[in-house]
Symmetry: D2
Subunit: 238 residues, 4 copies
């Protein structure tokens, strides 16, 4: 049983009727409903529950944190962002969705701007598998077709991924590294691009399959004790 916490800022859904029509209870509840099963035990937390909702205790009891945020990145307290970063460095897995590329914890973990180019006009996207043996691509064919998505484009200001699993192409001809794996000290991070709030991406079975695969991939074998900076004797005198 993997203990998953889904963070969703939960702002668009309350402000915008079109978004609410797609995700009446919020993106977090849609994901929870679709993903929860005998393998995944899922809790959710939203922006208005911070900072307590992502306390050290919550993170200590989270194997994999899923993150969706967009317009309210700046309202996430800095202390929460640092806490999430530190939990990943200690071994917690993290799956960062869509506009979470600009979230505080993801930027702290990457160390870069995480900028990208973008436009929003209902183009379709093809999410191509470029690493078919990767655990995150299992059960997916050559590509996933999304009838409409926000267009993201290169250059994507992130470190070279340790493993690239998906590349997206869009109707306008843009490309984007849509599925990127990183190891960050003792934790694993997966960034997955699809999921604009105005389209029903998180009801798509293959997208959900990828997210579930990613949660299982990011699941720590065990939580290692954080690396420390000890004063130690000579090894052979230990």
């Amino acid at each position: 049983m993997i203990r998953v916490t889904i963070y969703n800022e939960y702002v668009h859904e309350k402000k915008d009727e079109a978004v609410r029509a797609i995700y009446p209870d919020g993106i977090h509840m849609a994901l929870k409903k679709h993903l929860e099963d005998e393998e995944l035990q899922i809790s959710t937390v939203t922006l208005d529950e911070l900072p307590e909702g992502l306390s050290d205790e919550v993170l200590e009891n989270t194997d994999v944190l899923v993150w969706w945020g967009h317009m309210a990145h700046q309202h996430v307290p800095d202390e929460v962002a640092v806490r999430v970063q530190q939990a990943v460095l200690r071994g917690m897995g993290m799956v960062v969705l869509h506009s979470g590329h600009h979230s505080k914890p993801f930027k702290l973990l990457m160390g870069t701007s995480c900028n990208l180019t973008w436009r929003e006009n209902g183009d379709y996207e093809l999410v191509w598998v470029c690493n078919p043996a990767h655990p995150i691509a299992q059960g997916i064919g050559r590509f996933i077709k999304l009838e409409a998505e926000e267009t993201y484009g290169e250059p994507f200001g992130v470190p070279e991924p340790d493993e690239l699993v998906f590349i997206g192409s869009y109707q306008g001809g843009e490309v984007f590294r849509s599925g990127c794996c990183y190891r960050k000290e003792n934790g694993k991070v997966f960034y997955f691009q699809p999921g604009h709030e105005t389209v029903p991406t998180y009801h798509h079975p293959e997208i959900l399959k990828v997210i579930k695969n990613a949660i299982k991939w990011a699941h720590p074998i065990y939580r290692v004790k954080a690396l420390e900076c000890p004063h130690v004797g000579k090894p052979l005198e230990d």
Copy 2:
């Protein structure tokens, strides 16, 4: 002054009038004509000049080898392929073009199948820069548009590139890792996807700019002595 040798199998141009119309003296001579200047001193060699044309002596006097091949990969002698591989491991640079992904020396260097999907029907390609600070992308804008190219598609059966510089997208929606950097022991290898024989890709100024950048990037600082496997004394008794 960088000493460049361009290998072209030079078969399509002799057999097929449409190809000859684009490259009357062969792809190698078009590249030589376009690229030669005060920085690059260029020799050419074709399949019918092998194996002598790529002797150890020739390779020893080549800083960067450019390779174009397609229908005659199997006619390149194994000894030449091994010689090229060994020269790269000793420090020679190599730029592998288009269908050279299936050439013997490239496959020896990658250790993988180098397979890909493909189709050929005149679609356009956009070659996107995903690493704008890379030396190979200098002087290129957001993308290069090629009015027609052969379509290559993922998955591309190569090791994860050390640095990915370009991603191509095609009219049909496919994507391909079009510009891939590898360090192989003491040598550097760049794979660059554009360049189907039936379209005038190697007359395109930006494509030529990329190839020249790649030659300069792959140029060895100096030729290191090949790594050996010596029986040595303890370091502090040296």
Copy 3:
């Protein structure tokens, strides 16, 4: 249940009484005896059983191949080396031990010389964990001490590992990248340096722990169909 095949050339043990004293039935049988349990089902094959012993059928029924070879690398038929390489590219895992760095299949997979420096005079080795969260390091402390090992030294002529798990240091002061992970198309390869034939390394519980961890790490999720190079239609017309 993981189906493991252990290849050992089995030459030293028959020729040299000192080696036979350590491994009376050969390194392969020592590894089989120590490693076989409810998770690992182990077969063995030796040089004099080639090429049939590593037929396509055998490889098709092997999840992870373990390889030990040294003085008889050149007697492994080329066809077997290529068959092993191809099996890895299709998804079989491979754990290459000690002087297997110069084996034909490992060199084919790496694409490089795999050279290193070495000396043999009974120095001790410390095998340090540099990636404590990696599955292959689980159950190991800060380092493994081996009272005596052959000394291997940098530079090691391999591609930059995808993940470096162990670095060895030796009494004479040398260092070596002792545990290196590679993804090769659909298969995973782990190189692990300890295991000279004249010392009882493969009776050491922590070394056996690492080898078992590596087998589990290299175990393919499933055998993917080999990547091919198909002529395909446009994606949206599929």
Copy 4:
């Protein structure tokens, strides 16, 4: 001409006579004196000159920033650390020395704890070249011997280096990834471990050679315009 700025916190040298005996004018002035030549134009800045000493204007006119800090990391203003990080992301090179592994800008760039193990008792170090063709290793033999250095040990809590150039081994048997290359968006970062304040490491000709090589390697081809996050039209309508 490369414009280099050397930051040194310059605290040990003022507080501790033994350090002052080695570096009477500070580590920064020793480095400047040893490194300045017709290729490198060097400025220096110390902790008591911050934040103005590393203003945006200074950084805009710095090609490569060299950083030495230890006991006063926490006194570097956060705004300076962020400014340095942003300058690297825009293309400035950075060479981080010794205990700079725990400096604020390096930790921001890595996104990890950058922890390590350590002890301080005058052991010697051998700094081994594991990538002899790398520009930073040019002019160095198999290893550099330092008669005394602080011992650093794995695990080192950093992302897997893009290229590993040096591995150190110490008298006590420890190992450490002593020379690590990173690309961070448009900038390059090199971490180099030697340089404890109580030993004359920065008077050692080979160490100075490495630092100079690293400065040249990190030197940006040109300062790219920072990646942004633009709202753009379809590519073919541009």
